[in-house]
């Protein structure tokens, strides 16, 4: 009610002025987000090759091609695999580390900085370093393993391991960001709740699962949502570490497939159709999550 009352009291000039203020950002958003978004839907029905004007309307041909294409199917499976393995690990690990870093331990700020450090490194630079770590011929990783008499592995060049290598790297790279968010969440929980529980004789485990975790649920929801969106859009490390999509296309994810179709094969229409499919996949996941979230999120 308060909000509505306040809106009514704004003068016309004030409203007008505020629209002027947001105009630049609206123009930017329309030019670089809305218009491209809409044109992708249209381009998905054409055979545009980026050279001829607009291309011809070819109906559902691109979609038919994609649905029957082995490589595209593989890219979807790879994306789901990446998200399915990475997101749960990411959530559990970052929450666990955040809980530890929330305790009053010695060198706390050092550890916090250490865990956050990978986030600050540019993705391409980090990928190049890990590409070297994963090199099966000169790798320090294999030397380390041989120390424990484990047979050297081919890492990124083994079709069964390559995606796991990428996932491990991505975990290392992104963990710090989630830790910081969880830390902020943990610190926003009033000590009084925990103290009260402790006086009532609750065990530390019970406090964590019955008080901390439910109160963190909005944060967990945010981390999960961002995790899903980021996982579906993963590209940079894939393109740097496995420039051809890995052995037998084992690391070729959706965005990488779109990139290949658009900028290597110049099939912009087909790439757009693939992007539309990816869009609806992310939308579906987000909606499901929203539905589950409404039931399980407690805002205090």
């Amino acid at each position: 009610m308060v909000m509505i009352d306040r809106l009514r009291t704004y003068k016309k000039e004030e409203v007008f002025f505020s629209y002027i203020c947001v105009l630049p950002i609206i123009i930017l958003a329309v030019t670089f987000v809305i218009v491209p978004l809409i044109s992708v839907f249209w381009l998905g029905f054409t055979n545009w090759d980026m050279v001829t004007d607009g291309g011809n309307f070819i109906g559902l041909k691109n979609y038919k091609y994609l649905i029957g294409n082995e490589k595209f199917q593989k890219s979807i499976i790879n994306t789901l695999f990446f998200a399915g393995v990475k997101i749960p690990l990411d959530l559990v690990l970052s929450l666990f580390i955040a809980t530890l870093l929330d305790k009053k331990i010695r060198g706390r700020s050092f550890f916090r900085a250490t865990f956050f450090l990978p986030v600050v490194i540019p993705m391409v630079a980090a990928s190049i370093v890990w590409l070297w770590l994963y090199n099966p011929m000169i790798t320090p990783l294999n030397q380390l393993l041989s120390f424990f008499h484990i047979k050297p592995s081919r890492w990124l060049y083994d079709p069964n391991l390559s995606m796991l290598c990428i996932i491990f790297f991505s975990l290392w790279k992104g963990l710090g960001y989630n830790i910081v968010i969880f830390l902020a969440g943990l610190q926003s929980i009033p000590d009084t709740y925990i103290e009260a529980a402790r006086i009532d004789g609750a065990s530390p485990n019970k406090i964590f699962f019955k008080i901390t975790l439910p109160l963190l649920s909005p944060i967990t929801y945010f981390v999960l949502l961002m995790g899903i969106i980021k996982s579906f859009n993963v590209f940079t490390q894939i393109s740097v570490m496995t420039p051809e999509g890995g052995p037998l296309y084992s690391t070729g994810v959706s965005v990488f497939y779109i990139y290949q179709q658009a900028f290597q094969n110049y099939n912009m229409g087909r790439a757009s159709a693939a992007a539309v499919i990816l869009f609806f996949m992310i939308l579906a996941f987000t909606l499901v999550q929203k539905y589950i979230g409404q039931k399980n999120i407690h805002y205090q």
């Binding site: 090759d49 011929m137 081919r154 037998l248 290597q264 110049y266």
Partner: protein, 432 residues
């Protein structure tokens, strides 16, 4: 009535003929004249040559600008090949192309949308000696059988080898393998498992730029890769299957590691690889900097010597302003002069696309001092190329996949070539 109609048509035809002829006559006598009434003409020229080699090109632009006052060229570095390709594509769509540029070869930039303007100019210009360029070089600049760009900084694959590893394996470091069979035997002799853990630590042979090298082998075996006039892939011909069989033999007999092409360069520089096939553009960056004694040789011959061509081309993008286009052409022509090409070659190691450059004294001295370049420069006479076509990028990624099928999935050579041929046909048909 009918007669009148016929007469009219004939009259029209005559008019057209006369008009057409007079136009053609004009074309022959027309000179490329720059209109200087409004001062020097400014043009923008992109270049996809990076690092110290890019500096050399920048130096050439400055030299051109200071050598005359009619044309002022603004040279802009547009990123490496892949980046430039994306920028040109974007600029093409948004109609913000520069006047010209040194851009990676590809179908999409000129011929595909009917831009053959540079050919018009070259034909009109009596001073431009097109016959001095190698034939294979002109094929590299063609789309649909017609020249649409001028090849500029050229490279071909070269066979590099580690003389120290040759000596350690009891091989003569001065006689590198010259045939496919010798390549196989030499590589097998070098491959070793040093620490006995069942994994090879030193390999005989590997390739970088894998798709390009596979095409080299196809050409050496007399396979033309694609029948460009009908767009029919030729991988399943006997010569194609034989090539794939040889590739498989290199893997099966442990001459080449399976699926490790992306680290071939690291392996070679780290002294873990005897023979590496890679672009001649590496010579300049590696010469005198490796920890072992480095040498280069021709790619070994199959039925005959052959190498594919790589590197960038000079493209002219019509601006709608004839004067600017002529100025751009004049700059491109200047870049193609033997003296200026020599300056580029000597300072970067790119292979000159025309013969007269080899007569320049600076080039003679250069080749005397660095014999590895001599290998690359001389090998150009065996170079050939297919014309550009729309699916050439798709074809390359399919070649990569087919080789993976052989190397990792254990496909037979004929099955892999069958797969490759069918996939490429499907892609070509999908675009028609």
């Amino acid at each position: 009535m009918v007669k009148k109609g016929i007469a009219l048509i004939i009259a029209l035809l005559v008019v057209f003929l006369v008009f057409g002829c007079s136009k053609a006559d004009k074309k022959d006598s027309e000179q490329l004249v720059l209109d200087e009434s409004e001062g020097p003409v400014d043009i923008v020229f992109w270049y996809a040559i990076s690092g110290s080699k890019g500096e050399v090109f920048k130096g050439l632009v400055d030299k051109f600008n200071s050598s005359q006052d009619r044309i002022q060229v603004e040279g802009i570095f547009s990123g490496k090949y892949a980046e430039t390709a994306q920028k040109v594509t974007a600029a093409l769509a948004s109609k913000t192309l520069p006047n010209g540029g040194i851009i990676p070869a590809g179908p999409i930039f000129t011929g595909q949308y009917g831009n053959y303007k540079v050919l018009d100019y070259m034909e009109k210009d009596a001073d431009f000696d097109m016959s001095d360029f190698y034939d294979g070089i002109w094929d590299y600049g063609k789309y649909d059988g017609k020249i649409c760009v001028i090849p500029y900084n050229i490279s071909t694959p070269v066979m590099y080898y580690n003389k120290d590893l040759f000596k350690e394996s009891g091989l003569d470091p001065d006689s590198p393998p010259a045939t496919w069979d010798e390549l196989l035997e030499t590589a097998k002799a070098i491959t070793k498992d040093v620490d006995g853990d069942g994994v090879m630590d030193i390999w005989g042979y590997n390739v970088k730029d894998t798709k390009w090298i596979f095409k080299a082998f196809l050409m050496q075996n007399g396979n033309e890769i694609i029948d460009i006039s009908t767009k029919t892939p030729l991988f399943t011909e006997k010569s194609g299957i034989e090539t794939a069989e040889f590739w498989k033999k290199m893997i099966d007999q442990k001459a080449m590691p399976a699926g490790l092409h992306n680290i071939a360069e690291d392996m070679f520089l780290g002294g873990q690889l005897g023979i590496l096939m890679a672009s001649s553009s590496r010579i300049a960056s590696w010469m005198g900097k490796t920890e072992f004694e480095l040498a280069a040789a021709f790619l070994p011959k199959g039925k005959h010597f052959a190498v594919p061509i790589g590197g960038a081309v000079q493209a002219l993008f019509p601006s709608g302003d004839e004067n600017e286009d002529i100025a751009t052409y004049m700059f491109m022509k200047w870049l193609s002069e033997p003296e200026n090409l020599a300056e580029l070659s000597v300072n970067t190691g790119y292979i000159p696309p025309r013969k007269a450059v080899l007569e320049e004294q600076s080039v003679k001295n250069f080749l005397e001092d660095s014999p590895m370049f001599k290998v690359a420069f001389e090998q150009l006479k065996y170079a050939s190329s297919y014309w550009h076509f729309n699916e050439m990028g798709t074809m390359d990624s399919l070649i990569w996949e087919a080789l993976e099928k052989i190397e990792i999935e254990g496909f037979e050579a004929d099955a892999a070539m069958e797969w490759l041929s069918n996939e490429l046909k499907t892609e070509i048909e999908a675009n028609e």
